[in-house]
C-alpha cells in the first residue's frame, strides 16, 4: 500500500494511477463520438477535470473505465446539446447507440491499439509522413493540402487508403489472419 502524503485523500493515489493508465482509452472513447480534433481536445479536457473533481467518489474496487466513460459520455452529450443539431454530424440518438456499443468493447479496442504500432511500420515513409502531418497539426485538410501542393479531395483519398490499409493490418493482427 502506498503511503500517502499527509492530508491527501486516501484514494487519490489509486485514482491517479488508474487515470494515468487509462487516459488514452478515455481519449479514444471520446474520439469515437467526436472525431473533430478541437472538439475532442475540449471534451477530453473537460472530462479530465470532471474526473479529478469527482475523484473522491471513485471506488478502487470497481472498474475504472465504465465509471470514467459515464462522465465522458455526459460531457459529450451536453456538448452536443449546446451545439444544437448539426447536419454534418451523426444524430445524437445514433451516437448514443454507438457509445453504448463502444463502452463494452474495451478489450477489442485495446487489442487494436496494440496492433497499430506494428502496422504503422508497414506503411511507406511517405505515408507515415502524411499521417504525421495530418494528425500533428490542427490545420484544416484544405490548408494541409495546400502546403503539400495537392487538392483536398486528393488528400482525402490518400488518407482514406492509408486508413484502409491500417485497418486491414490491424484486423489481421487481432484475428491472427495474415492479410
Amino acid at each position: 500500500m502506498a503511503v500517502s502524503s499527509e492530508g491527501r485523500q486516501p484514494n487519490s493515489d489509486a485514482f491517479v494511477k488508474m487515470f494515468i493508465s487509462h487516459q488514452r482509452q478515455i481519449y479514444a472513447f471520446i474520439g469515437s463520438l467526436l472525431p473533430h480534433q478541437a472538439e475532442l481536445d475540449d471534451i477530453y479536457q473537460q472530462t479530465c477535470l470532471l474526473l479529478w473533481q469527482k475523484r473522491d467518489q471513485y471506488d478502487p474496487n470497481r472498474p475504472f473505465l465504465p465509471w470514467a466513460y459515464g462522465f465522458a459520455r455526459n460531457e459529450i452529450f451536453s456538448f452536443l446539446r449546446r451545439q444544437g443539431r448539426d447536419a454534418n454530424r451523426l444524430s445524437p440518438d445514433l451516437l448514443a447507440q454507438i457509445a453504448e456499443v463502444r463502452a463494452g468493447e474495451d478489450e477489442q479496442a485495446a487489442a487494436r491499439r496494440a496492433a497499430l504500432e506494428a502496422c504503422l511500420q508497414n506503411l511507406s515513409p511517405a505515408q507515415q509522413e502524411l499521417l504525421k502531418a495530418r494528425y500533428a497539426s490542427s490545420t484544416s485538410l484544405k490548408e494541409l493540402a495546400g502546403s503539400l501542393a495537392t487538392t483536398a479531395a486528393a488528400l482525402t483519398m490518400r488518407l482514406q487508403r492509408i486508413r484502409q490499409a491500417l485497418l486491414q493490418c490491424i484486423e489481421a493482427t487481432v484475428t491472427g489472419v495474415m492479410p
Binding site: M1, A2, V3, S4, S5, E6, G7, R8, Q9, D13, V16, K17, F19, I20, Q23, R24, Y27, A28, I30, G31, S32, L33, P35, H36, Q37, A38, L40, D41, Q45, C48, L49, W52, D56, A87, N88, R89, L90, S91, L94, Q97, I98, V101, R112, R113, L116, K132, Y135, A136, S137, S138, T139, S140, L141, T156, L159, Q160, R163, L166, L167, E171
Partner: protein, 610 residues
C-alpha cells in the same frame, strides 16, 4: 452477430458495405463529410445490419483517435518527458509514475519534503462557483481554484460584473482583495527571479512570511481563515500565519467572518501582533493602530478581544485583558495599559470602499513574489530603440529590440517610448507549463484612425500593417466608435466591452501555456477580462516575439513594457513501496487543467517551484 428470422432459420451476418462505409467514415474523420453523405452514413449505421457497420465504424474511429493521440494528444506526455533523457522517455501510453520512477532519487531529493511541506500548508477551503449576468452580455472567464488537501479541483466560472473572489494559489493563506489609491513599497523580500524587493498587487496571493508596506491608500487583505483586514497606509506588516498578522506600524481593522468566530472561552481565531501587544480576536471586529513608537491602540467595534501586552516589563507579570464592544485600550512601550482618547475609534476605516470602475479579479491566480521578470523596459534611455535592450533603458532583460523603423525612439522628455508607424519586437522564449503576463502602459496621442497594439507573434516583420501572423493582439484605438479593443486575430477576435479608449491604459495580455491548447486573456486596467482566446492552431503557438505596433500614421507613448512568467504549483507526493527500497511518486497539479497528472510537467518545472 446473427439475426433470427421469423421462420426460425438463422443466416450468417451480412457484411456491411465496407467499400461505401470506409470512405464515409474517413471523410467524417477529416471533416469532409457532406450533409447527404452524413445522412447516408447514418442510414448504414442504423440499418438492421448496423451492428456490424457500427463495429467497423468503431474500429475506424479507434484508429483515428489512436493516430490523433499518437501525434496530437500524447504531446503532453512527450512534454512531461522533455526533461528526461531520450532513452528514459516513456511511450505515449507509459504512465507518469513510471517516468517519475525512472527519474528516481533525482526527483525524490528535489521535490520530496519541500513539496510535502507545501502540501501540509495547503488551503482547506473548497473552491467556489459564481455565476452572474450583466446587461445581457455574457462574458465567461474561466480559471481554477482548489483546495488540494481535502477539496477537489473546482472550475471557477465567473461572469463579468460580479465581484467574484480572486483565484488563489495553493499554499497561500491570504489575498489582496481590494485596493483603493494604494501605493505599496517593497520590503526585504526576494522575488523568485532574484529581483529582490517586490510588493503585492491587487488580487495577488499572499504566503506566510510575506512582508510589505502600504505607503498610502487603503488595501483589503482577506485571509482564508475568515479574517478580513482593512489596512490604512502608512502601514507595515507581515503575513505570518493563516490566523495571524504582524503589524509593525499603521492602522488595521480586522473583521472575522462569523462562521470562523470563537465562542467566549474558546481559542482565538485570529491574532494581530504588534511590537507591544498581541490582540486575540474571538470572533468580532476591532481596530489596531500602531504608532511609530510601538504604542498600540485597540478599539473593539463588536464582540470580544483579548489584549495581551507582549513580554514582561520591569519584572511584572503580564495578564491579558478582555475588551468588549465599545471599549478601547492603549499599550505603551512600557507595556502599561491605559485608555486612549475617544477619537481613536473614529480613525479606523471599517468598510472597504469599492471602486466603481468595475475592476474584477483575473481568471487565474498570481503572486508577484513568485513571478519571474523576463523583460522590464521602462524606456528610460534616449535615442533609437533598434539594437538597444531593456537593460540599456534601466530595466531587465538583455535581448535587443528589433526596430529598424526610425519612428521608435526613447524620449525621456515624454517619459517613455514614442512610436510611429510599424512594429517593434523583442525575442521571447515561450515554454509550456507557465502563465505569461505582458503588461504595457500605452497611450495613443495622435493619429485619428489609427491604433496601437501589443501582441505576440512568430513573424517579427516591422512593416506589417497588422499582426497578420500574430497570435493575439490587444489594440488601442481612440478613434473607433466604441469597443475597438480586441483580442485575437482579424477574423477571430473578441471585444473588451468595458474598455475606455482614451488616456493612458495598462494593457495586459495573459498567455496560459499550461494546457495543450494555449489560452490568452486580456484586460485594460483590470476592468473586465476577455478570453480565453484559444490558440488552437499549432502555428500560433510558435510564438517567438513580443511586439508593439502602431498603424496607420499613429503616434503613441509606451511608458513601460513588462514580460513576466509564473509557474503554477504542482503537488508531488512520495510513496514508499512496502517491502522494498523502491519509491513511487504521484503527481497532481490542479493548475494544469488538461491533465491534472502531469501535462507539461518537466523536472525543470518541478524544481522551479521549490
Amino acid at each position: 452477430m446473427s439475426h433470427d428470422r421469423t421462420d426460425g432459420r438463422t443466416t450468417p451476418p451480412r457484411q456491411p458495405p465496407v467499400d461505401e462505409l470506409l470512405p464515409l467514415i474517413s471523410r467524417l474523420c477529416d471533416g469532409r463529410l457532406t450533409r447527404s453523405e452524413c445522412r447516408r452514413l447514418e442510414r448504414l449505421l442504423a440499418s438492421s445490419d448496423g451492428g456490424e457497420a457500427i463495429n467497423l465504424y468503431l474500429a475506424a474511429m479507434e484508429l483515428h483517435a489512436s493516430l490523433s493521440w499518437r501525434w496530437h494528444g500524447s504531446r503532453q506526455t512527450a512534454t512531461i518527458a522533455a526533461g528526461a533523457t531520450p532513452e528514459r522517455r516513456p511511450a505515449a501510453t507509459a504512465s507518469l509514475l513510471e517516468w517519475l520512477d525512472a527519474i528516481g532519487e533525482q526527483v525524490a531529493s528535489a521535490v520530496g519534503n519541500s513539496l510535502l511541506a507545501v502540501g501540509r500548508r495547503l488551503s482547506r477551503r473548497r473552491g467556489w462557483l459564481v455565476v452572474g449576468l450583466i446587461a445581457g452580455s455574457l462574458l465567461i472567464v474561466a480559471g481554477w481554484a482548489s483546495g488540494i488537501a481535502n477539496g477537489p479541483l473546482q472550475q471557477v466560472v465567473s461572469f463579468l460584473g460580479t465581484s467574484p473572489r480572486p483565484q488563489r494559489l495553493p499554499g497561500s493563506i491570504a489575498c489582496v482583495t481590494a485596493a483603493h489609491d494604494a501605493v505599496w513599497a517593497a520590503l526585504n523580500e526576494v522575488r523568485k527571479d532574484g529581483a529582490g524587493q517586490w510588493h503585492p498587487n491587487l488580487f495577488d496571493s499572499l504566503f506566510a512570511g510575506h512582508r510589505f508596506e502600504l505607503v498610502s491608500g487603503l488595501a483589503e487583505i482577506s485571509y482564508d481563515s475568515g479574517a478580513t483586514i482593512i489596512l490604512q497606509g502608512p502601514a507595515r506588516l507581515t503575513i505570518t500565519q493563516p490566523t495571524q498578522l504582524e503589524l509593525e506600524r499603521g492602522r488595521a481593522t480586522v473583521t472575522l467572518d462569523s462562521r470562523h468566530g470563537a465562542q467566549p472561552g474558546e481559542h482565538a481565531r485570529f491574532a494581530v501582533v504588534t511590537p507591544t501587544a498581541t490582540v486575540h480576536d474571538l470572533g468580532t471586529s476591532f481596530g489596531v493602530a500602531v504608532a511609530d513608537s510601538g504604542t498600540t491602540d485597540v478599539v473593539v467595534f463588536a464582540g470580544v478581544v483579548d489584549l495581551l501586552p507582549r513580554g514582561s516589563a520591569g519584572g511584572q507579570v503580564v495578564r491579558s485583558q478582555r475588551l468588549t464592544a465599545g471599549s478601547r485600550a492603549r499599550v505603551d512601550t512600557a507595556r502599561q495599559v491605559s485608555e486612549p482618547p475617544v477619537g481613536v475609534a473614529g480613525q479606523f476605516v471599517r468598510k472597504t470602499p469599492r471602486s466603481a470602475d468595475g475592476v474584477v479579479p483575473p481568471p487565474f491566480p498570481w503572486s508577484a513574489a513568485a513571478a519571474v521578470t523576463i523583460f522590464d523596459d521602462p524606456f528610460h534611455g534616449e535615442g533609437q530603440l533598434s539594437g538597444s535592450s531593456p537593460v540599456s533603458h534601466g530595466g531587465r532583460g538583455t535581448a535587443s529590440w528589433i526596430a529598424p523603423l526610425s519612428g521608435w525612439r526613447c524620449e525621456p522628455a515624454v517619459g517613455g517610448l514614442v512610436t510611429g508607424d510599424g512594429a517593434v519586437f523583442l525575442p521571447v522564449t515561450i515554454e509550456p507549463g507557465h502563465l505569461y503576463r505582458i503588461t504595457v502602459d500605452l497611450q495613443v496621442t495622435a493619429g485619428g484612425q489609427g491604433w496601437a497594439a501589443v501582441g505576440l507573434t512568430n513573424s517579427p516583420d516591422p512593416r506589417i500593417s497588422e499582426f497578420t501572423s500574430v497570435s493575439v493582439l490587444q489594440r488601442h484605438n481612440p478613434a473607433a466608435a466604441a469597443n475597438e479593443c480586441r483580442l485575437g486575430r482579424r477574423r477571430d477576435s473578441r471585444v473588451l466591452a468595458t474598455d475606455r479608449l482614451s488616456g493612458r491604459r495598462r494593457r495586459t495580455l495573459i498567455l496560459d501555456t499550461t494546457a495543450p491548447v494555449w489560452r490568452v486573456w486580456a484586460t485594460a486596467d483590470g476592468e473586465g477580462w476577455i478570453g480565453p482566446f484559444r490558440l488552437v492552431d499549432p502555428l500560433h503557438r510558435q510564438i517567438t516575439h513580443v511586439g508593439l505596433a502602431a498603424f496607420p500614421h499613429t503616434q503613441a507613448i509606451v511608458h513601460r513594457l513588462r514580460v513576466e512568467s509564473f509557474t503554477l504549483p504542482v503537488e508531488v507526493s512520495r510513496s514508499r513501496v512496502p517491502g522494498s527500497s523502491a519509491r513511487s511518486f504521484s503527481l497532481a497539479s490542479p493548475w494544469l487543467p488538461f491533465s491534472p497528472f502531469g501535462s507539461h510537467v518537466s523536472p525543470k518545472s518541478i524544481r522551479s517551484i521549490l
